[in-house]
Amino acid sequence: MISIYKVSFKNLLRKRTRTILTIFGIALSAWVLASLLGFNKGYEASLSRDIDNMGFQVLLTAKGCPYEAATLMLKGGTGLRYMREDVVQQVTGEPEVERVTPMLMQVVFDPNKGESGGISAYLGVDPVTFPKMKSFLEFRQGGWFTDPDAMEVVMGYEAAELEQREAGDMLLIPEKEVELKVVGILKRSGTQDDGTIFMPVRTVQTLFNKPGELTGLGIKVKQDADIVAFEEKLYGLPDVQVVSLAQVKQTIMNLVSTARIMVFSIAIIAVLIAMVGVINTILMSVFERFQEIGILKSIGAMPWDIFKLIWIETVILCFMGGVVGTAMAFGLSKITEVLIRNLLPYAPTGSLIQLDARLVIMTMISVLLIGVVSGMYPAWKAARIRPLESIRSEGN
C-alpha cells in the first residue's frame, strides 16, 4: 500500500525548484531564529564569564560616569580619570577586604597598528596581588614580572599573536620610545585578558609620568562579608566611584533583556515571512491541482483525507527547512559571530552564539508550528473542493 506520507512527499517533487526555494525560505527563517536565540544565550553566558573572571567583586575608579567606569573595566577606554594611590591603604584596612589590587591603564596611539594606526592599551598591575586575584591565568611561556619596577611586559595570548612576540623579545612602547622585555605570554583564557598587555603598575606610573595615580582598584571581598554594606561604606570615600560587578552585570543584563525583545521581534518577523511564503506555495499548489484533488475525492478520499494530504506536505516542507536552517546556523555560526562582533560596540569575549540541543529542538518546534498553522488554510481550501467542480470544468 502507498501511505499518505509518501503521496505527500512525492507531490512535493513535482515542482522541484519551487519546493527547494520554499525550503530555502523556511531554512533562512530557521537560521535567523536559531542564530538569534543562540546569540541571546551566548551573549549572556560570555558576559557573565567575563565579569566572573575579573577576579574581584568591586572596582573603585575616579569619580565619573559609572557606565564609563564599567566600560573601562570591561574593555579599556581612552577617557581616563585618575585617583590617588593612597586609597589603597584606606581600603586595605577595612575588615571586609580580603585583597586589593591597584591598576593603572594607559593608552597611546600606535601609528604602526593596522593600516592607519590604532590605540594600544597597557594595564599596570601589582605583581604581587594581581596574579593572586587572577589565579586562573596560566602561562604559555615565561611568567610574571621579576621586580615591581621591572621594565617588563606580560602579554595576553591574542596581544602576543597580534604583535608576534615570544618571551624574551622586546616590545616598543610608541610615543615613549622605550623598549620593554616580554617576560611572559599567557595561555588563551577566553577573557579580555587575552588582548591585554600587562606591565608593573609602578613602571606604567614612571613611563607615563603618573606618579601616585591609579585608574582603578580591584577589591576582592571576604566570602562571609556583606558586599552591599561594604559598598555603602566605600561611598564615603572622597572622589571615588564604586562599581559593583554585580551591578554592572545586572545593568548589562537589563540592557540585554531590552535587546532580547528586539531580537524576538526580528525572529517573529522572520517566522511570519516564512509563514506567508509557505501559505503562498501550498495554496498555489492546491489551485494547480484543483481538478486532481476533485478526482481524488471521486475515488474515495474524504475531506479529512485531502486536508491531511495537504497539511502533511506543508509539515514536510517546514521540517526540511528546519533541518537545513539549523544546519546552516551551526555551519555558519562563526561567520555570523564575526558579523555581529563588527556591529556591536561592546561584545564580550568567548563564543557569542551558543547553539545546543535545547535550542535546536526549540527551533524545530517553532518551524513545525509554522507548518502546522500555515498549512491549515490551504488544506481547508483543498478539503472543500467538490469532485464535481473539477469534473465540470472538463466541459459538458
Binding site: 500500500m1 502507498i2 501511505s3 499518505i4 509518501k6 503521496v7 512525492k10 507531490n11 517533487l13 513535482r14 481538478q291 486532481e292 478526482i295 481524488l296 475525492k297 471521486s298 475515488i299 474515495g300 478520499a301 474524504m302 475531506p303 483525507d305 469532485p387 464535481l388 469534473i391 465540470r392 472538463e394 466541459g395 459538458n396
Partner: protein, 227 residues
Amino acid sequence: MNENAISAENLTKIYTRGIEQVHAVDHISLDIRAGEFVSVVGPSGSGKTTLINVLGCLDNPTAGILTIDGRAVFTDGRSLSERQLTRIRRELFGYIFQKFYLIPTLTVEENIMLPFTFFRKDGASENVSRLLHLLGIERRKNHLPGQLSGGEMQRVAIARALVNNPRILLADEPTGNLDTARSEEIGQTLTELNQKQGLTIILVTHNPSLAQTAQRTITIHDGKIKK
C-alpha cells in the same frame, strides 16, 4: 446486486447561469440493469456529463428519485450526506475521465493503488497485480506516467477506477484524448470488462464507433432522452 444497478425517475438538474435557468437534465427516467453496457451520446452541451455526474453521485439532482443498487440516494429534494455519498462512491463506482489525472511523481503501480491511501480493502495488492495483468500494463508498473503513451495512461486510469472492485464504471469521454487506434483498444478493453467481469458500464462519448460497442445507446438532447 439488484437487478437494476441504477434507477432514475423524473431526474432533473437545473443550473442557474446568470439570470437564466438551464435544465441540464430534464425529467429523465431510466433503468440501467446490473451488468449492462450503456453508451450515452448527444451533441455538446446536451447534458450527457451532467447526467453521468448525477447518476454517479458526483452531483445532486434538483428533483426526482435516484436509486443506486437498491439504495435511495436522492428522493425529491433529500440527499444523503457528503460522507455517505463518498462511501457509495468508494464501494460502488469507478470513474474514468477524458483527462487521466495520474499523479506524475507516482509510478503506475502507485497510481493504481492510490484509492487505498484513503481507505482499506482486503486483497488490494492482489487486485492491483490482477489489473496490471488484465490491462496489459504489467511491464510498465514501475514507470512514471510521463513515460507512457496516451493509451497506456488511460489504461492506468481504468485500472485505478477498477481497483476497488466497483460494480458500476462511469466513463466520460475516455478516448477524447486518444487517436483512433488507441480509442479502439480502450473500447475493446471496456467490452471485455463488461463481458468477462459483468461490470456495469455507462460510457459518455462523441465517438460513434465507440458508442456502438455498448449494448444500448441513449441519446440525450437538451437534457432529455431522445426516443
